[in-house]
Symmetry: D2
Subunit: 341 residues, 4 copies
C-alpha cells in the first residue's frame, strides 16, 4: 500500500489535532507543516518527526512529495489556500467554512468542481458515532417524519473572557457564522431539506461588553424548512458545565436526543453536590473520534478515488444560512433565504 | 375551624380531579355538583356523598350553603360563570382560561377586582414542586440572569385520533390557546417580564387531516421578551412515550431542566428494549400533587382572606400572548403584541 | 361516616410525621398525644388543636374516646405498649420493630392474634409507590424468576456524629437490627421466601471511634434464601449525597432498580460541578407519601374491619433475620437461621 | 522507528480483535497468524496482508522475523505457549488467565521472571478510560477510604443457549474462573489489598439444565479483604438488555459507579417503550478502545524496554481467588484463601 503524504497548514488548537491524527494513521505520512510560528514548528517537527516545515503555505504546497493538504488556517484564507492546492494537484481537506464570503465560496466551488482531486470539508459531526446512529434511526423511519429539530452548541464559559478580547481585536463574523454552521449542517443532513426562513435573536448578559461589538454571548435561531420542519438553534459561549453540543429530533413516531447531557464518561459520582455526571469540557474531547474518523475518510477517498459524502455545496449552504441568521439578528426581522446557483 | 362548602361545575376529566381533591380536604365539604349528565351526577353524588346535585350552573350558585365554586365548565362559559358566582358572593376557583376572548376577559377582570371574594386561576404548574424548586433556584440567582427558556407541552399520541374528531366538530381555538398558555405563564412567572414579539410555526404530519381545519398536531413559538430573554415553545399532540412537559432555563451562570425525561417513578427497567424509564402518561398523573396543592391554596386564601399569588391579569396576559401566537401562525409572520390595560 | 379517634404515643421525628398525617385525614381526629416532654406536648396541642395530652402512655390509653393508638415510642417499650392498647380494645399502629427481643415479640404476637383489633406494623416501604410498582412487575413475571436482590439503606453522613454520641450512651442494637430490617422485609415481600443463611460484615472507617462500641458505620449482609435467591444488603451511615435507599432485583428475564439515584425531584442542574441531580436528604422526604398511605391503610382496615397485608409475623421474621446478621458479624461466620413457631 | 513484528495465535472472537488492532498500529506489523482453521487463516491473511500463516503455534514462533506474540489460544495452552515463546526470546502478550491451574501458573511465572522479555497480561479493564478515571479519583482520595466495592459482569442472555451446549461438551471451569477474574482484578487494583475470605452462591433458573453440569447461569461472591473492604460480585449469563459490566465503589467521603447503565452511546430514544437508552451488546463493543490501548501499551513496553504495570502475579492472584470462589460454591461454605509464594 502506497504511503499518502500530507501537509498540515495552521497549527492552532484544531491544526494540532489533525497533526496528531494524521501521524497515527498507517501508510500515511505527516510530511510537512506550515505555520507562522517557527518555535511551534520546531516542537512539532521534533515530536512527530516531520520531514519538512514551512512558514509559508505557498512554499509548502510546492513540495512535490505531497499528495494532500489539510487546511486549518484562518477562515479568510481558505478560498485562496484551497484553490492554490488544487492547482498544485493536491487533495484537499479543509476545515469549515470554505470561506467567509458567499462570492468567494462560489468561486472556490468552481475550482473544486473542475478538479479531479478529493475535496473534503471538515464537518466532523457527520463522522461522530452518536450523530451517525441517530441519522440511521431517522433514515430507517424509527421516529417517523421529522416535525422539529433542536440543536445546541454552547462553549464553556471559561473561554468567554478570551473570546471577548479576541473579538475586540478582530470581528468574529458573529456567533451564527462562527458556531451555528455545525448545527445548520446537521439539520440539512438529517432532513434532506433546505432552510427557507430564519429568525435570530441573541443577548449578552454574561458579557455585556460584547454589546458595543454587536456580538452576543448566546444566540438563537428559529428556522422554517422547505419540508415544513421547524428548527431551533442555540449557539452560546456561556456553559458553566462544559461543552454542550446537543441535538434533538422530534418525529411523528418518536423522538431522540443526542447528548442531552454532555457526559464525559460512564462514571457517576455521588457526593456532597448530589448525583453528578462529570462533563465533557471542549470540542477536542467531545469529537476526538470524529476528527480521527473524518481524516480516515479523507484518506479512504484519496485511495479509492471517490468523493466524500459531504460536498462543497454543503459548505456553501451552511454559510448562506448562517449569513441570513446574522442579517436577521441585525435587522431583528424574519429573513427569507435566497440561495446561490 | 369552620367548614368551607364548595360546589364543582363541570364533571369532565379535570372536574373529577377537583371533585376528588376537594372531597379529601379536611374541614372542606364538597357540597354540590353541577353537570349536564344526570347519570354522572348520580354516580358522583353516591361515591362522594354530595348533598346537592344540579344540571344547571345558575341553579347551583343559588344554593345558600355554598361558600365557593370551582368552575371546570367549557372555556366559553367561564366569563359568565365567574361573574354570576361573584355576584352571589361566592369565592371562585376557575380553570384556565378566564375566557376565549380578550374583551370578555377584561370585563370579567373588572368584576373580579370589584369583588372582595377570592379569585383563583388554575395554572397548576405554579403549584408543582419541581417548578417551584426551579423558581427558587432562579430567584436565588443560582443560574444567574436568564438568557433563554425552552418549554414543551406534548400530549400523548394516543389522544390524537379523538382530538381530530373533536376538532372536526368544534374549533379548539388552536394549539397555542389550547396548550401553550401553560408554558407562556411559566415564562412570565420565571422572568417577571412580558413577551414582546412572537413567531409561531406548526405542522400536521402525524394527522394530515388537521390541515383542512387549519390545525396542527405540533406547533412551536419563538418569543422575545422585554428583558431580552428568548423563549422557545413546543406544543404538540404526538408524544409516543407519554405526557411530556419539560422546561429548560439557561442562565449566565448555569442552566436547569425540569422533567427532561417524564419519568413515571423511580424505577429503571433493564430489558430487551435497553435501559428503560417508564413514563408519565397524562396530566392527571403528572400534576396530581399540584392539583391538590392549588386547591389547598384556594382554601387557604379563603380562610386567610388573602389573594392568591397568581392573578386574573396573569390569565389575561397568557391569553393575549397565545392569541398573538395563533395570529403569527396564520399570517406566517412575526407579531408584536399589544397588551390591554 | 364516623370519626376515628387516634392517639399518638411518642413525638420524636417519626412521631411528628404521624401526627401531621393523622391530622389531615378526613373523618379522623388526632384526639390525644402522649410524650414525656410537656413543652413539646403544648406546642403540638396548639398547632393541631389536640383535645388531650399526656405524659404517660398508660394514662392516654385509658381515654375512652380513643379508637386507636399509633405507637412511636422507643422500640423497647413496643411489646408492653401494644399489649396494653389491645387490652383496652384499641386498634394499634406500631412502628417497627414489634420488640427488641424474639421472646417478647412472640408473646406480643399471641396477644395480637387473640385480639380482634387491627394491628398495623410500620413497614412504610410496602406503601411506597415505587416499591409497589416494582412488586407488580415482579408478580406479573415481567422480569422472570428472581435470582438476586440487592438492597441499600444508607443514611446521610451529616447524621453520623450525632449517631456516635447517641451510641456511646445507649447501644443501638447494631446496624442490622436498626436499619437492615427494612431491606429484609422488602426481600421477604418480593420473593415470598424465607432467608436461610447470612454472612454479615462491616467496617467503621468513617467513624473509627465506633470500633470500641462494636458498631460499624457501614455493614453488608449476604443472604441465601429458601428459593435459591441470593440477596446483598448494605446498611450505612455515610452517604455524602443524601439518603440512599435503593433496591435492585435481577430476574431471569430482566432486571429493575428502584431509586438507583435518590433524585430529590425532576430538576437537573447544569453547573460548574457537572450535570447534577439534587438528592433526597432524609427519610421523611423520601417516604412522605408512603407514611401517609400506610396511615390511610390503617384507617381503612379499621373501617372495613380487615387485616393489613403485612402481619406481626413479618415483623418477627425481620427481627429474627437481623439478629442472625448481628450474630454473623460478631462471630465472623456464616449463620443459619432458626425460626420461631 | 523500527517496526515491531507480531504474530497472533488463536483467531477466535478475541483473537480477531487483536488482529485488527495490531494491523492498524503504526510501525507495527501483523507478521504472522497461527490457527487451526486454514480457511479462516486464508481469509485473515488476505484481509490484513499477513505475510505468514500457520496451523501450528510452535511452527509460528520459530519464525525469526517475529519480535512478539499475542496468545489468544484456549486457556489450557497458555502456560506452554508463554514458556515456549519466551524461550524463543519473544515478547509475550497473553490473554487472561495465565493458566487453569495454580501450579502451572507458578511455573510459568518463574519462566517469565527469568526472562528479560516483556510479559503483558490481558486484563483490558485496566486500560479502559472509565476504569482509569475512577482509579484516579480513588487514588486522589476523592471518595475517601473504600468501604465496599460491588462489581458486575453479566453477559447477554442471547449467548446462554450456546454456552449451555458448549459447557455440555467441555467444562468451563465455573463462572468464577471464567468471568469473575476481571472483577477480582479490579478489586485488587482499586484497593491495593488482597482478598481474605469468600462466600460464593449461584443459581440456574434461566437455564436449569446447567444444574447437572454443576454450573450456574448467575453467581455471586462476597469477599472480605485484608484492609477491611467488603466486595460483592455478580457474574452472570442472563442480561436481557445487553452486556452489563458495572463497578461501584463506596468510600467514606463519596461513592462512584462505573457504567451503572451500559449505554451504547449518547443517544436517548423516546418511544412507545418509554425513555430508552440503547445498550452495549458485547465485550468487543464495550471494551473496543481498551483492547486497542492495552495493545499500544504492549508495544510501548517493548520499545521502552519497561514492564507493564500489571504483572503475572496479578494473574496468579485472580486465579487463586476465583478458584477459592468455586470451592466456596461447591462446599457452600466460607473459604479462607491461602496464597502461593
Amino acid at each position: 500500500m502506497e504511503t499518502i503524504k500530507i501537509g498540515v497548514a495552521g497549527l492552532g488548537r484544531l491544526g494540532l489535532i489533525h497533526v496528531d491524527n494524521i501521524s497515527t494513521l498507517k501508510n500515511v505520512e505527516l510530511t510537512a507543516i506550515s505555520n507562522l510560528d517557527e518555535e511551534v514548528n520546531k516542537l512539532i517537527q521534533k515530536k512527530y518527526e516531520v520531514p519538512y516545515t514551512y512558514t509559508s503555505y505557498e512554499d509548502m504546497i510546492q513540495n512535490n512529495e505531497l499528495d494532500a493538504v489539510c487546511i486549518v488556517t484562518p477562515s479568510g484564507f481558505h478560498p485562496q489556500h484551497i484553490q492554490s492546492a488544487l492547482e498544485q494537484n493536491l487533495h484537499v481537506f479543509c476545515e469549515k467554512p470554505i470561506g467567509l464570503d458567499v462570492k468567494d465560496i462560489k468561486d472556490t466551488i468552481e475550482t473544486i468542481e473542475q478538479s479531479d482531486r478529493v475535496f473534503h470539508l471538515g464537518f466532523m459531526r457527520r463522522f461522530d458515532n452518536d450523530y451517525l446512529y441517530a441519522k440511521d434511526m431517522i433514515d430507517r423511519g424509527d421516529i417517523g417524519d421529522i416535525s422539529i429539530i433542536r440543536s445546541y452548541g454552547i462553549d464553556p464559559i471559561d473561554g468567554l473572557e478570551s473570546f471577548v478580547k479576541f473579538a475586540q481585536k478582530s470581528p468574529s463574523g458573529g456567533i451564527y457564522l462562527d458556531m451555528s454552521v455545525h448545527d445548520i449542517d446537521v439539520i440539512r443532513w438529517y432532513t434532506n431539506s433546505e432552510i427557507k426562513k430564519v429568525w435570530a435573536t441573541g443577548s449578552n448578559k454574561a458579557a455585556p461588553e460584547l454589546a458595543e461589538l454587536n456580538e452576543v454571548d448566546i444566540g438563537t435561531v428559529t428556522m422554517q424548512l422547505e419540508n415544513d420542519v421547524t428548527a431551533f438553534l442555540v449557539a452560546g459561549r456561556t456553559a458553566s458545565h462544559g461543552y454542550h453540543v446537543e441535538t434533538e429530533v422530534i418525529g411523528t413516531k418518536g423522538m431522540l436526543r443526542i447528548a442531552a447531557t454532555p457526559d464525559k464518561n460512564k462514571v457517576t459520582v455521588f457526593n456532597e453536590n448530589g448525583v453528578v455526571r462529570p462533563t465533557l469540557q471542549n470540542f477536542p474531547e467531545r469529537f476526538r473520534e470524529a476528527y480521527m474518523d473524518e481524516m480516515k475518510d479523507f484518506v479512504r477517498c484519496i485511495r479509492d478515488n471517490t468523493n466524500p459524502s459531504i460536498t462543497a455545496w454543503d459548505g456553501l449552504r451552511s454559510t448562506e444560512v448562517a449569513a441570513a441568521c446574522q442579517r436577521s439578528f441585525e435587522e431583528d426581522a424574519l429573513v427569507e433565504i435566497q440561495y446561490e446557483g
